[in-house]
Amino acid sequence: MTGRTYIWLLRISMLLVTACTVTACSDDRTTKVEAIDVRDWKAVAESATESAVAKGERLFQMCSSCHGFEKGELSPAGPSLYGIAGRKVGSLDSYPYTQALASQTVNWTVKQFDDFIASPQDVFPGTGMAYSGLKNSEDRDALIIFLATKALER
């Protein structure tokens, strides 16, 4: 992705994110929904460099066997990461979470995600995520930058 395209996508996505946090339409009704705080993810995306995004995208290949990014997508073996920024942990209706995640009340902040991906079983013992952790903090930073740009593209 070129820097120009990236900034353009970011501007579009910021508008979309803002809109989505104000209202949601269902049939004929317009319902006030709880705002999702994505400021920390936006800050990460805004400070991203192209090289960091590219590194994060390479690292994401290790996640792609289980996770996808499409809305409503049936990921092969893990929840879709569409909309993960700020989302409540274990909250996708269509996904059969284990109780370890379904019972959580916290949201996916950048820090929460960083802690989790470093050692999933330590943060949410009993999670079904078959991943032992990304120990290298620079790799985690790059992965989070990539996820932030993907999350805010929408």
């Binding site: 066997s65 073996a77 284990t98 109780q99 019972s103 009993g126 078959a130 990304l134």
Partner: protein, 471 residues
């Protein structure tokens, strides 16, 4: 409860449900329990057991902890290509899985393997020997045949592995001890020891010699057939997941994913199964198919027999993981063995052409030798074997650290092959399956299917006496 089943079905894109055209009418309900049978585990042992009982009209619930089916098989994608992250190899000399492939119209898909263009051997010290494929095959062939030279004598009837009682006498002989008696050269020893480290998921000093020779015997005591059976063919038409779904769809069983079983209790009339979300189901019987090391996460009341507890604590040690790596360059059809303690036990080309470069499958017998999530470490290790490649992408699945497997494939620690039947014995209303309980191909998909058929027969006989006898 219904919502859970529906969501499970959505995640699966396939949800087995009772249908009107089952092969047998539903058995009369002779109790007030939720189900006749609860099957715990949605791998090949579990879905086969569910099918064996479901088509007989029994009301079956299958509980799976993961969000997917397949157990220690996992059909996924890597860089747009279908790959198998777990058990994958099938063959017509593996009768149970072959029969299932025939039943559901699944075909074989070749991996490159034949016509190798380059072969490498990393000896234990880490030095590389780049040898011609013809030499590689000749030396490995010699080593494998020497290791298994007594296969026909020890296992004249491989599905009755202790028919020759000498097998029991050799139970305390490790693979490493036997290798040491063979007088092998450097290449022979390195290739054989790497292969057996992979099979054992452990140092060969820990791995049972005779349990491996039994696998060789199952391939008609023949080196070519054995190698062909273990490395050459996968399942086409949806891979292992496609076959697993076909079996489950046939079962008519209700399926609930994301259900982690925490407690199993039984009394004279019923089994009570509790999951970590607090749900409880009751049934006449339960079939437990979880990997051996997962039993420790379940509380049994009454406790399991001391023999089972000993087997669970000691018998298995497979520390395996699987990884796919894409190279920018097309390096062609290659195969490499890396002897222990080098972590990449076997590296096999899966796809190669000038547009994709090369995708290799790496099988690690001992994943704990390297952090497979550390790209720098993986790149450094891979460049020791292929110094000229640029790594585009890496994806892995760590079976040893997956909380719902805790190990790779079933492999017996030295001294424990003789006790595998302890794990298969029913205890009250609890029945046990899984590859580790198989008489035949215990480290393979075939062994899981075999165990599902066996346990289906055991439960059917018990329920026929109990339920139909009452009606």
């Amino acid at each position: 409860m219904a919502a859970a089943a529906v969501s499970a079905g959505a995640a699966l894109q396939s949800c087995a449900r009772p249908s009107g055209d089952d092969e047998a009418a539903a058995k009369p309900k002779a109790h007030d329990l939720d189900f006749d049978v609860v099957v715990i585990g949605g791998g090949f042992a579990g879905v086969t057991a569910a099918r064996e009982l479901g088509v007989g009209g029994y009301r079956v619930l299958l509980l799976e902890a993961r969000p997917r089916l397949g157990g220690r098989t996992f059909t996924g994608k890597f860089q747009g290509k279908k790959v198998e992250y777990g058990g994958s190899c099938v063959h017509w000399v593996q009768p149970h899985v072959f029969a299932e492939m025939q039943r559901y119209g699944k075909n074989f898909e070749e991996v490159p393997l034949v016509d190798l263009e380059a072969t490498n051997v990393m000896i234990a010290s880490g030095e590389i020997r780049r040898i011609e494929p013809s030499e590689f095959i000749r030396e490995y062939d010699h080593a494998m045949e020497a290791f298994c030279a007594r296969s026909k004598e020890l296992f004249p009837r491989p599905y009755s592995p202790f028919f020759n009682p000498e097998v029991l006498e050799l139970d305390n002989v490790s693979a490493a001890e036997h290798i040491a008696t063979l007088g092998l050269n450097e290449i022979q020893e390195a290739t054989l020891n790497a292969e057996l480290t992979l099979y054992g998921g452990a140092q060969t000093a820990e791995y049972s010699y005779t349990s491996f020779v039994k696998l060789f015997a199952l391939a008609a005591w023949d080196y070519y057939t054995f190698t062909d059976s273990e490395k050459h063919y996968k399942i086409s038409d949806g891979g292992t997941l496609g076959l697993c779904k076909a079996i489950l769809d046939h079962s008519g069983a209700e399926v609930r994913l994301g259900k982690v079983v925490s407690n199993i209790s039984q009394d004279q009339g019923a089994v009570r199964i509790e999951t970590t979300d607090g749900q409880v189901v009751t049934a006449k019987t339960a079939v437990i198919t979880v990997p051996t090391k997962v039993y420790d996460s379940i509380e049994f009341s009454p406790v399991l027999s001391s023999e089972k507890q000993a087997f669970i604590s000691n018998a298995e040690m497979c520390d395996a993981a699987c990884m796919f790596v894409q190279f920018k360059q097309n390096i062609g059809n290659t195969f490499s063995f890396c002897d222990d303690p080098n972590p990449f036990s076997a590296i096999q080309t899966e796809y190669f052409d000038d547009s994709i470069g090369t995708i290799v499958k790496v099988t690690l017998g001992r994943q704990s030798l390297i952090d497979i999530n550390d790209h720098d470490a993986v790149t450094t290790e891979m460049n020791r074997i292929f110094p000229y490649v640029d790594i585009v992408a890496i994806s892995s699945y760590n079976w040893a650290t997956d909380p719902f497997s805790r190990q790779g494939w079933p492999s017996y620690r030295v001294g424990w092959f003789s006790k595998y039947k302890d794990m298969a014995k029913a205890e009250g209303r609890l029945y046990f399956a899984g590859g580790a309980t198989a008489d035949g191909w215990h480290e393979y998909i075939d062994g899981a299917v075999e165990s599902g058929i066996r346990v289906g027969r055991e439960v059917r006989e018990a329920l026929t006496q109990e339920l139909v006898g009452k009606s």
